[in-house]
Symmetry: C2
Amino acid sequence: MKKEPTTLRDIAINLGVSISTVSRALSGAPEVNDQTKEAVLKAAKKLNYEPNHVAQSLRSNKTKTIGIIVPNLISHFFSATISGIQNMAAEKGYNVMICQSNESFATEVSNVQMMMSHRVDGLLISLSKETETYDHLHPILNRGIPLVFFDRVCEELNTSRVMVDDHDGAFKATEHLIETGCRRIAHISGPEQLSISKNRRQGYLDALQKHNIPVREELILHSSFKEEDVAVHTHTLLDLPNPPDAIFAVNDLVAVQAMLVIKERGMKIPEDIAMVGFTNTPVSAFIEPSLTTVAQPAYQIGHISAKHILEQINHPQDFIPQSIVLKTELIVRNSSRRKA
Amino acid sequence: MKKEPTTLRDIAINLGVSISTVSRALSGAPEVNDQTKEAVLKAAKKLNYEPNHVAQSLRSNKTKTIGIIVPNLISHFFSATISGIQNMAAEKGYNVMICQSNESFATEVSNVQMMMSHRVDGLLISLSKETETYDHLHPILNRGIPLVFFDRVCEELNTSRVMVDDHDGAFKATEHLIETGCRRIAHISGPEQLSISKNRRQGYLDALQKHNIPVREELILHSSFKEEDVAVHTHTLLDLPNPPDAIFAVNDLVAVQAMLVIKERGMKIPEDIAMVGFTNTPVSAFIEPSLTTVAQPAYQIGHISAKHILEQINHPQDFIPQSIVLKTELIVRNSSRRKA
DNA sequence: TTGAAAGCGCTACCAT
DNA sequence: ATGGTAGCGCTTTCAA
């Protein structure tokens, strides 16, 4: 039943030539005789030869595999990013090995170890919400394995990064709310360690400052991405003696959860309270009212991240760490449309 | 800069023992002296030893890697499934290598080849919409590599399969429409080759038959999953002299696209036309009106698929091909709520 | 309890 | 143009 895969040796014996010759013929080496080459190719086909990638990897010290570690696979942003990575990798003859940290630092650490053990040629990572230290990544860097952060990046390590201009996106979002007449704009931020949380929060603050709107600490909350958490924080905001007239949420997921609470409490969006999210997930277009958001080119982020890591893998000598910052776009929808 | 990874040899030299001893110590072999073992573990830690998984794979003829091929990574159903697979695999010490066929048969074929070359220990696959023949999978089976289909399965090959009861789900969906008073129920089906298209279509037909509603061929259309295609087909239905009073779509994606066209034409859902989808993607809960749909336990499908393939990998002798059929659940929302 | 050596499948160097 | 051989890092058999 179980048939052992054909090896070069099988082909060599079958043809009465040496293993070296077979190897050369299959890899298209120029010095091999045309008839021999042809015979080898035919035999390889006949015997269903499939090169043993494991053996090639051991020999060449290259696995042609890119590791990806993401907080989760299920959110649209990450799956779109991974899609971009995988397509670019496939185009260049690379494979992808994927792990999810499930937002756990401990899992992220073991994922990194696994990727090292697997001898991936490069590692793409978007950090878990718990990640505050980067010691687990030092072995990667010490071994000279190309490392690229995307979206949830690390500012401290000297690597390439691919992200959007979170500050600018948040700034535009907040300014948009100000322009529509909102003055008590709350911000539900994400886990404090995350680069995206910090940068979006800063964009929010800077927009307020530009328009001389005082910052109210009680209007700025940090939430996890869990539904219950968002609900609690939303209630907190709405229960304030002087509740906000708008909420800018760190992402669409949070915005949508907040909207559920707001609607549940019988308040009108955008009349009573305007909403803006971040990312432009499909849900934002379909929810009622449709959600104003800041679009992040997720697929592009993946595509570009993969392109950069492949460059670094294949031309390590010309490598210079780069921070690639993609533009966001404010998409105005009904959740913030009201007379200014 | 670039440091070569530590090998067993490095540790052996460092300690003045043999490579065999180091190997045994690290793998927890019982026969090794306690002091020696301790010294080895210490040295391994000091030198940042990370086992070379590639070498282990070559040696053991096992990669501890499961291959996954899906039509795309971006749709919620597949990313949820993959999440389930990855979590189960990780729990059992396996890695996942992921490819998307992008719904192309040719790409699927090359993906399968890549997986073989990579010597994955098992392959999980959900077929592309173009796949009508299965020759590309024979080498997998011939080599005794465990193969499990999920969702878009192949009925012809003697392998395990994990899916939902598409027929029953479609039947319940259609019957629900009938019970709310719809009599001209259209069905926008998917690509004809797909198992899910066939089974859902049959469920629809059987529900009509049970309730003595004549089948109208003009109300059954096959569509790709592309937006434009769905739009064209929806217009075709609405332009009929006697248009449908309900549409059951092969999945939520198609349902949502159809809803956009219907709303664009100024028709009311569900008053003028009721809608039911399939899968229960997040969008279905948020779209206006909220979409009645048949829930598929995507994460579970992945989890169970992974569990089964791991069983087959680790206990090949007890393997018996199974078809695991999970239950669906009809989720009634506003797109089909009207007086019966 | 430890060591030497073979070999997994492949590539590449050194012969011829 | 072709063949022999070493060796990538590891595990495991056989000897000591």
